[in-house]
């Protein structure tokens, strides 16, 4: 893996130490863990009594009550669960845009989210799009131990999903990090990502070059994913048109997110550290 990316993971890890993932209530279920679940479980925290029903664990019968009332009553304890974060990273080449720090920002953001999830006692899985969605090696460990974070795919996340969809944990918190710059209908992908998730957050990570049109003049623009070139003349009109197209794209993703109950925000790679407040605003992170 690229040393720069590795360093970014470390930086993100350090940055993430200040935050914790905000777990929504609906996400308080899952495998047995250290967090109180929303159902009765096997923790030591007493929750309630109820009448014995066949099949109940005989270990939780309150024999004192049976002695006094001759009725079988079981004690209910709060369930302890481990929430889960599914971090979905866009592995296409556009996330590794030449001449920008977009790729390191991806790594930094991913590490930040993973660290903040760990701070919130969440398990985590990091999915990288490519020829299908694959988990990063060592993704359950701390970000600095991750491997093969390579942003070099020529496929869009949508195409990757078609090839091999990720196996998300049920009721996990899912965070999708991408520049969202591909043609297609966002609702379809978002529905799939949202399905079975406690919450879905879409973080659009753009380089400043993506967010602002280039200076006036003639440009031979090269698509980082397809390699297609086009010669265009940038003037105030085309710059305005570019900005309008970007706004339109963001609006379509925003509408789709609203439709699917997802939260969306846009970050600029170059301003990542200063714009983490946006993640708090969408209730993804809270200070640790």
């Amino acid at each position: 893996m690229d040393a720069a990316l590795r360093q970014s993971l470390r930086d993100g890890e350090m940055l993430g130490a200040r935050y914790a993932l905000q777990i929504p209530q609906v996400a308080a279920s899952g495998i047995i863990g250290s967090r109180a679940g929303r159902r009765a479980g096997s923790s030591i925290d007493f929750q309630d009594y109820r009448e014995y029903q066949p099949g109940d664990d005989l270990r939780f019968i309150d024999w004192g009550i049976y002695a006094r009332t001759d009725r079988l009553t079981v004690k209910l304890f709060r369930e302890e669960v481990t929430p889960h974060l599914d971090l979905i990273l866009d592995g296409s080449r556009s996330m590794n845009l030449e001449g920008t720090i977009k790729s390191t920002a991806v790594a930094q953001l991913a590490a930040l989210l993973a660290t903040s999830a760990a701070n919130a006692q969440c398990s985590q899985a990091v999915w990288l799009s490519g020829e299908g969605f694959q988990r990063l090696p060592n993704d359950t460990l701390s970000p600095s131990a991750w491997d093969k974070l390579e942003l070099s795919s020529s496929r869009t996340p949508e195409q990757s999903y078609e090839i091999l969809p990720p196996k998300f944990r049920h009721l996990g918190v899912r965070v999708f990090v991408s520049d969202l710059l591909w043609p297609g209908e966002p609702v379809q992908l978002l529905r799939r990502l949202r399905e079975g998730a406690a919450a879905l957050f879409v973080i659009q990570l753009l380089a400043r070059d993506d967010a602002t049109p280039p200076e006036h003049g003639n440009l031979r623009v090269v698509d980082s994913e397809t390699g297609i070139e086009n010669e265009i003349y940038i003037d105030s009109s085309s710059a305005k048109q570019y900005a309008e197209n970007l706004a339109q794209l963001q609006q379509s993703w925003s509408d789709a997110c609203r439709q699917c109950g997802a939260q969306m925000t846009t970050l600029i790679a170059e301003d990542l550290e200063s714009s983490l407040g946006e993640l708090e605003a969408i209730q993804l992170l809270i200070p640790a």
Binding site: S94, L97, E98, G99, K102, D179, L181, W182, P183, L206, A207, D209, D210, P214, H216, G217, N218, L219, R220, V221, V222, D223, S224, E225, T226, I228, N230, E231, I232, Y233, D235, S236, S237, S238, Q241, Y242, N245, L246, L249
Partner: protein, 583 residues
């Protein structure tokens, strides 16, 4: 194809076009830039389908504005003209200015008829603009173009019909040049064209004359004849049959003498008679007929100029010979004070305006029998034959500055020198003792030529009677000259030395005031061709073709291109100022 080589400015401006293109091409080189996706550039992206595509040149609007402005300036620098359609052609009227136009029939002259026709033409269908060309002995344009009849009328007083001839062909040529092959030409005259079949579709020839009988005085002169004046009158009958007229001749205040002249068809009769030299003027009048202008002549006394000669020869024989020869010329004045010619043997200083004739060769023993070389173009050699004579002369060579007129081999016999004051000094290398020249007419001829030449250089008029249209030469010595014409018009010539050629546009008595001296000369309308009215007619030859009614007129279009360029530059400025220039 614009001939750029003939327009250096256009060539220079054109050279800036590739420079401008180079600037934009260099400026518009494509920078390579990788982008996340072409999705956001979809409005600029063209389909790759269909194979190779042609890229449109990506140039801003201001480039095209600048290019267009440059091209407009290039075209403007070539001085473009365009042809504008006009509903009517301009008109150029050629007016016959000869005095035959004054011939009347039933009291109406051809000039009057032509005038009325022109007025009617303007009243009915005024041309867009009109020029008038007078066809006199030389064609002359009457001012600039005029637009309406009132302006034409202001010019017509110059159409006096006093010219002794009408160069209509030359006038048509001038009119064609003035009209740039686009104008309609109208000839107003009194006679038919030389070639009655007019091929020019833009020429209309209209004659308003009429074939009439006419008597005319076609020649008249009054010359010195000893102590009298000899007069010649030539009368011509330009009629189809024999006719009779009455001639009245009045000399001074004497009673007029009448005589009857009977002549056959197209016959002439010359009358030669003498009158006293003291008679102030001779007035000859024929009976009134259709053309009055050629019926009358006035002849003033001829100019009698004589030279005051001082003979200062010491050799008595030579002096006698010279005096006798001078008397034979009839040009020597009776007095010799303030001499105008001094004949002497040595280089005597002469008075301010006198010429000198140095008589050398006395005692010379070289006798030449010829061949003699004469400068026949020189006035002193006119009529000199020198055949079979013996001319004794000193064997001298030509002095520097002397122009030899007669030579025997390389020996100058008669030579001339002009000094800084314009006086001429003649040298006659002649020894009469051993010569036979004095026994031939050649010696008096030489002296006559000398005196005649001297007279020709004296100030004043050269002649007192001339024909209409001829120039009268006036020798001046630097005074202001005022000429008063018979019609009262005065012309003042500022102080000029040398010869003045005076025009004679109208017949009659002219007065020439030079300093305190006033001289008169008479101008008579005597032109046989104009007096012959037999070929005059009233008709029309040629007609402006219908297809030439519409025409294309060339107009300068420079201002249009300049205006367009200025508008483009203003737009350019606006776009730059508003920041829309790169669109």
């Amino acid at each position: 194809m614009i001939p750029f080589l003939t327009y250096p400015l256009a060539m220079l401006a054109l050279a800036t076009v590739p420079a401008l293109a180079a600037i934009y091409i260099l400026r518009n080189r494509y920078r390579r830039k990788q982008v996340s996706s072409l999705l956001l550039w979809r409005f600029q992206v063209q389909s790759k389908a269909g194979g190779a595509k042609v890229h449109r040149l990506q140039l801003p609007l201001i480039f095209f504005l600048e290019l267009l402005a440059l091209l407009l300036l290039v075209v403007a620098a070539t001085g473009p003209h365009w042809q504008l359609p006009q509903s009517q052609r301009p008109l150029i009227v050629v007016l016959d200015d000869s005095f035959s136009m004054r011939a009347t029939k039933d009291g109406i002259s051809a000039q009057t008829s032509a005038h009325d026709f022109l007025e009617k033409l303007f009243r009915q269908q005024p041309p867009p603009n009109t020029r008038l060309v007078l066809a006199g002995t030389e064609p002359r344009s009457l001012g600039a173009s005029v637009k309406n009849w009132r302006e034409v009328e202001n010019l017509l007083p110059q159409w006096k019909c006093w010219s002794p001839g009408a160069a209509i062909d030359s006038a048509i040529t001038l009119a064609t040049e003035l009209g740039k092959q686009q104008a309609n030409l109208l000839v107003l005259t009194d006679h038919k064209p030389a070639d009655e079949k007019i091929s020019n579709p833009r020429l209309e020839w209209r004659a308003f004359g009429s074939a009439q009988d006419n008597f005319a005085i076609v020649n008249a002169s009054r010359t010195v004849f000893g102590e009298q004046d000899r007069c010649l009158l030539e009368i011509a009958n330009f009629s189809g049959g024999a006719r009779t007229t009455k001639l009245l001749v009045q000399t001074g205040s004497n009673a007029p003498q009448s005589s009857v002249i009977s002549l056959g068809a197209h016959e002439n009769q010359r009358l030669v008679f003498n009158i006293a030299f003291s008679a102030p003027s001779l007035h000859a009048v024929l009976e009134k007929d259709s053309l009055a202008e050629d019926n009358e002549v006035q002849l003033l006394p001829p100019i009698r100029k004589r030279v005051r000669v001082q003979v200062a020869l010491t050799n008595e024989n030579s002096s006698t010979l010279v005096s006798r020869t001078l008397e034979a010329t009839g040009l020597r004045a009776a007095i010799s004070e303030n001499p105008e010619l001094v004949i002497h043997e040595t280089d005597t200083v002469t008075s301010s305006n006198s010429w000198s004739l140095r008589w050398s060769g006395d005692g010379a023993t070289n006798a030449y029998t010829g061949p003699f070389i004469l400068d026949n173009s020189h006035p002193l050699a006119a009529g000199v034959a020198l055949e079979g004579i013996v001319w004794a002369a000193a064997s001298a060579t030509n002095s520097p500055g002397d122009v030899p007129v007669i030579l025997a081999g390389n020996v100058p016999l008669l030579s001339v020198r002009e000094d800084v004051a314009g006086r001429r000094h003649l040298t006659l290398n002649f020894n009469p003792a051993l010569s036979t020249l004095q026994n031939t007419p050649d010696l008096p001829i030489i002296f006559f030529n000398i005196l005649q030449w001297r007279i020709a250089e004296m100030p004043g008029l050269k002649e007192s009677n001339t024909r209409l249209g001829a120039e009268v030469i006036l020798k001046t010595t630097g005074e202001t000259v005022t000429v008063t014409q018979p019609d009262g018009e005065k012309k003042v010539f500022p102080k000029t030395g040398g010869e003045l050629a005076l025009e004679t546009p109208v017949p009659g008595i002219y007065s020439v005031a030079t300093g305190v001296v006033t001289n008169l000369f008479s101008v008579n309308a005597m032109t046989a061709d104009e007096s012959d009215l037999s070929a005059n007619a009233t008709s029309q030859w040629g007609q402006w073709s219908e297809d030439t009614q519409r025409r294309l007129e060339e107009a300068s279009a420079v201002w249009i291109f300049g205006l367009l360029a200025a508008a483009l530059l203003a737009t350019h400025l606006y776009l730059i100022a508003s920041g829309k220039g790169a669109k």
